[in-house]
Symmetry: C2
Subunit: 237 residues, 2 copies
């Protein structure tokens, strides 16, 4: 597979890479005029292209073959999780991108300790692009602004999403009934959701899920439950 | 939950921590005589205990209440994966411990690039203990010696395990039929298994599984597929 690059406009006969992607072409992979690359625009479309011109901070390409966006053949998975600290958040976002999560919402809860700043969210968007380049994924995973728990619930209910709340407890159920409906997965902070938050989620029709063994850290729970949900969306087609 | 410590012998009235765990008691958590702790021996047994004496590099405890080992109520999951580089291996082993994987085998394949040395394997065993302390897991995840692909297959077949081989391909199937039988999950290196390895696995009755979207990195595939398999072992009870 040729190296992949993110490029917002790939619909014309030519395309132009932004500074970060141009840097990758010139200084990391050291490609030259004529080399074949693959482009994706984040909407699902992709294109074969070749390097046409390389200049300072800029790479121009000739687009050879555009493949239009194909909509995903499954419902959307929106993951709202209390961000873990430091590099664990970055590594989690990479994995969520790889497996195909559609939206990531940094969740503000009563016991949350990390509230990522604007600059951190921008870095995470770059992380998503990097993971898309490696994994072959063409649909952008959207990184939302940090969102209050109650707002996330209200939005999901308004959009008639299935709501799954990961909360350790007596019920060892790893997933709700799967339907072909968009799903919101809610993952709490290290200290868990409060009793009030769990009740509030129930009011919105959320189903509680929990891991049958031990207590998972935020990023483990997020990746494992997201994987289970996506896998089941394919099984119910 | 009181702080948890690993201790090989918890069957008597008193117990003694090793140097690493004594250091944790004294210098990280700064516990003193009389403080309550929880002990686990890795076999599944655990005990309530209290600090009886603290001296240089050594902590003695009084065991108050031993809870005998309970066997797991599901089949075993053995994960054999080509080790990813550096910290990604450590983080992967932590996650496999949390979710409940029983055995981890560093897999040698044709395209493997990492072959962990003895000292690295010892460090991973310490990583497992650390993850058990945090997650509340009481059964030790065993870290095996690095093992050739063909040996791993032969052993699994001799023990009548289900063999699941993760290999990207035309079949988007995330798990084999689940039964109440021990299962070996095989995960290849970045470059994947060779055609010969895939054929060899088929000869041993392996079923191919693959993720329905994109290409997962080693550690993502390992954690997601292991999570799916454990989750299904509970569903078929």
């Amino acid at each position: 597979m040729p190296a992949r690059f993110y490029c917002k406009n790939i619909g014309g006969r030519t395309a132009e890479l932004d500074e970060a992607e141009s840097h990758h072409v010139q200084h990391v992979l050291r490609l030259s005029v004529g080399d074949e690359v693959e482009l994706f625009d984040g909407s699902g479309a992709s294109a074969s292209a070749s390097v046409a011109n390389v200049s300072r901070n800029r790479v121009d390409l000739t687009v050879n073959n555009l493949r239009e966006s194909g909509a995903l053949s499954r419902a959307r998975l929106i993951v709202a999780a209390a961000p873990p600290r430091g590099d664990r958040l970055k590594s989690m976002v990479e994995k969520l991108t790889e497996i195909g999560v559609d939206d990531f919402i940094p969740l503000r809860t009563v016991r949350s300790v990390v509230d990522p700043r604007q600059s951190k969210l921008e870095k995470l968007r770059t992380t998503v692009i990097g993971a898309m380049k490696q994994s072959g994924r063409n649909h952008l995973m959207k990184i939302h602004e940090a969102t209050d728990f109650s707002v996330a619930l209200r939005t999901a209910a308004a959009e008639r999403q299935i709501i799954s709340l990961a909360h350790p407890g007596d019920i060892a159920r790893t997933a709700t009934e799967t339907e072909q409906r968009d799903t919101l997965l809610l993952i709490g902070p290290e200290g868990g959701f409060t009793r009030e938050e769990v009740l509030q989620a129930s009011d919105y029709g959320a189903t509680r899920i929990s891991w049958p063994e031990g207590i998972l850290r935020i990023e483990t729970a997020t990746v494992v439950f997201a994987g289970l949900l996506i896998s089941r969306m394919y099984q119910t087609r």
